[in-house]
Symmetry: C2
Subunit: 429 residues, 2 copies
């Protein structure tokens, strides 16, 4: 962890280094992934069989090797502890409610020139959701990706997930049951993304692919952008806590560690104007790490990427926060609304002292798939819009065409596109 003070002579240089630090693996997987995509495009299921044997030690032979049947999801769901089942349902219900209110409105109006104009939204036909294997297979991620797709109206929702040595994840299957996933394919990695994008004999192609994954999965999505729609490429998680002196250091320490435990490359940053709080939070983190079961990961993150910024006044916080454009920003201050009004770049903001970021990960309702790596400057969290597209429409009456057509003809002529001009002038004779 490094502690910076805005009064330090080298503050600007140090803070700039933190803003620029990408923390993302520049794993040079581009060529490997290109090869995998080509193989799956050309050889389809045969390539999937080979890669799945090689990477997951799972043999794809019978239907049961290829797909997890819906009945297995139901079985996993039925076997859940009742409090866990209720928690998943509460999360699903709240996520659904938030995303239903996100559905866009169609437009249809006639303007002063007598031209009817508008736009209509439709869901994509099919969406593919990648669910990583191993420790990053979170049922909450499945809900956060699948529910917006279903709310958008996607008719065919497909999950692809690796099942190393045949092992499935019961929590994920139970979540798939709740989210009413239509198909679950037991393939992973870049080869799974290729199968979703291009389609194979067994796996029908989809229109949009979302969901987290390792460097190969992320690179495959990047390379297939344009063949299918994708969600934003995601990097390690981040939290920025802006806290005044009136905070319990236990709470703030817990919040910082809640992101640090995700990954050694995660980043937790505290901005405060109170040196005593800063010191107590640092000490409390050390104490909490002594008993935290995920301490190994959390300590690596905190030691290498943790930052405490001591400001002279919290008035300095919004500008620093905007430069960080963090995925998660907690405003543990007396008047969070006033500071929120000054922020421009953040994935999601958590108001006040009783909104720990983890509430947003699971149960609040807004999506937990959020822009990382300073991408909140230009990107948004996952939403129903990622599973929809807009068709604009124009309906000109004869009179409306007569009114605006001559100007369009003039522009087409100026651009050297005479057939454009003619398609209008031929109607004005």
């Amino acid at each position: 962890m490094q502690m910076l003070r805005t009064t330090d002579a080298d503050f600007e240089a140090k803070f700039t280094r933190i803003v620029r630090d990408r923390r993302e693996s520049d794993a040079n997987v581009g060529r490997d992934v290109t090869g995998i995509l080509n193989e799956v495009r050309e050889r389809g299921d045969a390539a999937l069989v080979e890669y799945t044997m090689r990477f997951d030690e799972h043999r794809l032979t019978d239907d049961a090797d290829w797909r997890v049947p819906a009945a297995d999801c139901k079985t996993a769901y039925d076997a859940l502890d009742s409090d866990l089942r209720k928690a998943l349902h509460l999360a699903a219900d709240r996520i659904r409610a938030y995303h239903e209110a996100q559905l866009p409105q169609d437009r249809d109006y006639t303007d002063a020139a007598g031209m009817r104009l508008g736009a209509r939204w439709n869901a994509v036909d099919a969406a593919g959701l990648y669910v990583p294997g191993g420790r990053a297979a979170y049922p909450s991620s499945l809900l956060m990706n699948a529910i917006p797709a279903k709310v958008a109206g996607v008719e065919r929702l497909v999950v692809a997930t690796p099942t190393p040595r045949g092992q499935t994840n019961d929590l994920v299957l139970a979540a798939a049951h709740i989210a009413q996933v239509d198909e679950i394919w037991r393939v992973g990695g870049a080869q799974a993304i290729a199968a979703l994008a291009y389609g194979t004999k067994r796996i029908g192609k989809v229109d949009v692919v979302t969901g987290p994954g390792n460097a190969w999965v992320a690179e495959a999505k990047r390379q297939l952008y344009g063949v299918v729609g994708i969600d934003m490429v995601a990097g390690p998680s981040e939290i920025l806590v802006i806290a005044d002196k009136d905070n319990d250091p236990e709470w703030i320490a817990a919040d910082l560690l809640s992101q640090a435990e995700h990954d050694p490359t995660s980043q937790a940053i505290l901005i405060t104007d109170d040196l005593t709080l800063a010191r107590m939070v640092a000490d409390t983190i050390d104490l909490q790490l002594m008993t935290l079961p995920t301490a190994k990961t959390a300590r690596a993150s905190w030691d290498n990427h943790g930052v405490i910024v001591l400001v002279e006044s919290l008035d300095q916080a919004p500008a620093l926060s905007d430069r960080l454009a963090a995925e998660h920003v907690e405003l543990a201050i007396a008047d969070p609304q006033a500071m929120f009004d000054q922020l421009r770049h953040a994935g999601s903001v958590f108001f006040g002292r009783h909104t720990p970021e983890a509430v947003g990960d699971y149960i609040a309702g807004p999506n937990h798939v959020l822009p990382t790596g300073r991408r909140a400057r230009f990107a948004s969290g996952l939403s129903v819009l990622d599973f929809m597209k807009r068709t604009s429409f124009i309906d000109a009456s004869q009179a409306a065409l007569a009114a605006v057509g001559p100007a369009a003809i003039r522009l087409a002529e100026a651009e050297g596109l005479p057939a454009h001009a003619h398609s209008i002038s031929v109607r004005l004779k």
Copy 2:
């Protein structure tokens, strides 16, 4: 041109081939572009000077070599013919009106659990708009990209455009004046996209890059996706006209040629249930090509990619149209609304007999930057949303956290994330 009939035995095979035909250059420019991006990232302006000399034969020395001053845009604007100036203003006003109505609404509500939830939209700080040199430098494209950015609230709107041998395009400069572009940099190609995304000493970096370009520009945008936001990668233009027998073949022929004249790889398709109309349109296209100044391009497009599909009934048209997912769909039929209601995948739809597609290119108001190459399955036309991003927010009262917190704790425990659980439980003591 090929004529297909749905009653042909090989119709399905032939139509599938048309749907799959990408028409896009698979120019293998990936490695060249990677090299250019790295050079600009590492050497900044010096790399721009070298590439601009090499590719554009333009020497970047003084400020005037680097930038087109606002005064030059004003001069170009003042020198316009008055009818052309009026046409540009009418287009700009109508584009602005359509996009202003597109601005998204913020959300802010408190739900039954007492949790305040919402989302707020902000413009990105800066946007870069690429304007190609040569014959593809269209003032209409500048308006269609720049106005949504300005309507979104982007404070710094930057144009990058090559000026081969120092030549600027007066029409584009006049349009930049109307759209109130803030900076115009005389650089082009992948090096311009790199400069916009990474920033150099002279050119401040932007958050979003949009605009058309050649294969190098498109590849540069693809590779920089995630460093900045980008609009959809665009391919050759397309039009699908669905027409019944009650059409003037002159009009339909003109509409098909209006897309064919864009590029030899553009595609014009007619679906009709009337053999007589089909034949007359084909003949009329041949006639119009005899006098069309852009006949060379249009003929190449029509000969190689033009299609007429003769259906038994126009009831078959929506399903075929959805498979094509065309950029532009004209419904030259008696009841366009009824067919529109059946369509799912199209970039923009033009209703009835008096709405030629070219009206949408220039003057109607909706954006003419639309998904090509079947991407209307998952992508939308350019909009103010491409220059904005959404920050969600959560504000839990102590009571709300007490109500939903335990479920979140249970989920965090199940996912093996104890610090997440602790950040909530520590507040419930």
